[in-house]
Amino acid sequence: MSETSETLAFFTQGWQNYQNQLSIALARLSPEQLALRAAPDLRSIDELARHVIAVRAGWFHYNLEEGDENFGAFHEWDEPGSPPRSASELVSGLETTWQVMQEVLERYTLSDLQSTVQDEWEGQTYTYTRGWVIWHVIEHDIHHGGEIAYSLGMHGLTAPYI
């Protein structure tokens, strides 16, 4: 067993590789293409990407208390009225948030996963383990990554191949 097995560092390579594929697909898109959506009531490609970035910052900064204020500010990217972002801004947002997450994953151990954090939502307090938070961000990233891929594919654009 290597040292990496005791921390969550072993997640980083696969997760980062997924993000890279997503970034490659997003990087070539024009503002018009980023505004494409699968249906009028569903998020556009830009909105999905901003949602991924914002949720990362929300959980890692406001719940796990990681990263500085600049990192936390990404949480505002999918608030109502937030402006669309260019492809390069989205790629940069993914990369910048990833840096913080990667550092956390390389530091956390199994015992960290079992410790808890609290979150307030609509007046109620919820308790989560850090492991739940990490998993949730993984599933959120990739689930919405799949939605981005499908949105790209249905408009004839190149999607990440998994």
Partner: protein
Amino acid sequence: MLALDEFIDTPVRQLSLGQRMRGDLAAALLHDPELLYLDEPTIGLDVVAKARIREFLQAINVEQKVTVLHVGANRRPRAIAPTDSTYVQTLPHRVKYQRSLRNRIWRPLRSLSEEYLLMSESPTNIANYYNGWENYQGLLIKAIEPLTAEQLSLRAAPHLRSIGENLLHIIGARARWFHRCMGEGGDDIAAMTLWDRKESQTRSAAELVDGLNQSMQLIQQLLARWTPADLEFVFKGTSPHYGDYALSRQWVIWHVIEHDLHHGGEVSLMLGTHGLAAPDL
């Protein structure tokens, strides 16, 4: 570090358990071994003596580059020091060495974190690293369980997979990676490797749910059986997509997770596109 001078002239039968273990360790190291195999070296010792032994083992690992294989009571063997190319396959009550170890290309680790020696705090399986996977599947099943055959055939564009085809692909990929690549599961899982072939039959929602549940049951059993050390086992083979490959178990597990979630997201978007309830993350 073993403080042998405290009892160097004392007859063995008069030594305490901890003193005997310290003496045994000194004897085991007389010939400067590369590998030190210890069978429950701290059993029966008090907390202070245990800490002393662990501290000593850590020191000889780091300073003298001795690889330590440490077996504890009621626990699987713990290897201290595998390198990138070596591993120890751990099984209850026995240790199976990889060829590279028998060929003595096992090398000591350059550094060692204290946690490796604190066996009581080390995980014996990897299930806790993947908590949440089964829950995600539960959300997916909740969304697809009520779908009719017509709804399962919906797709967002003619050249893209339908909802049902995406789910067959999730199940087929799980089966291929876990059965074909890693050799796990029986005939039921083997049959699922073909579920997403073009010529394969369509499946009802109930069959898809059953396929997801069966494959997930196998996955959960394996995650509860595999240790962190097992993550480094490398599978070699050839596939049409990857050519000649050498992939770690860790890579395979991650890939199946990302494959599940990515295509789960696609299913979700298709459901939403057609006004059907999608998994709510």
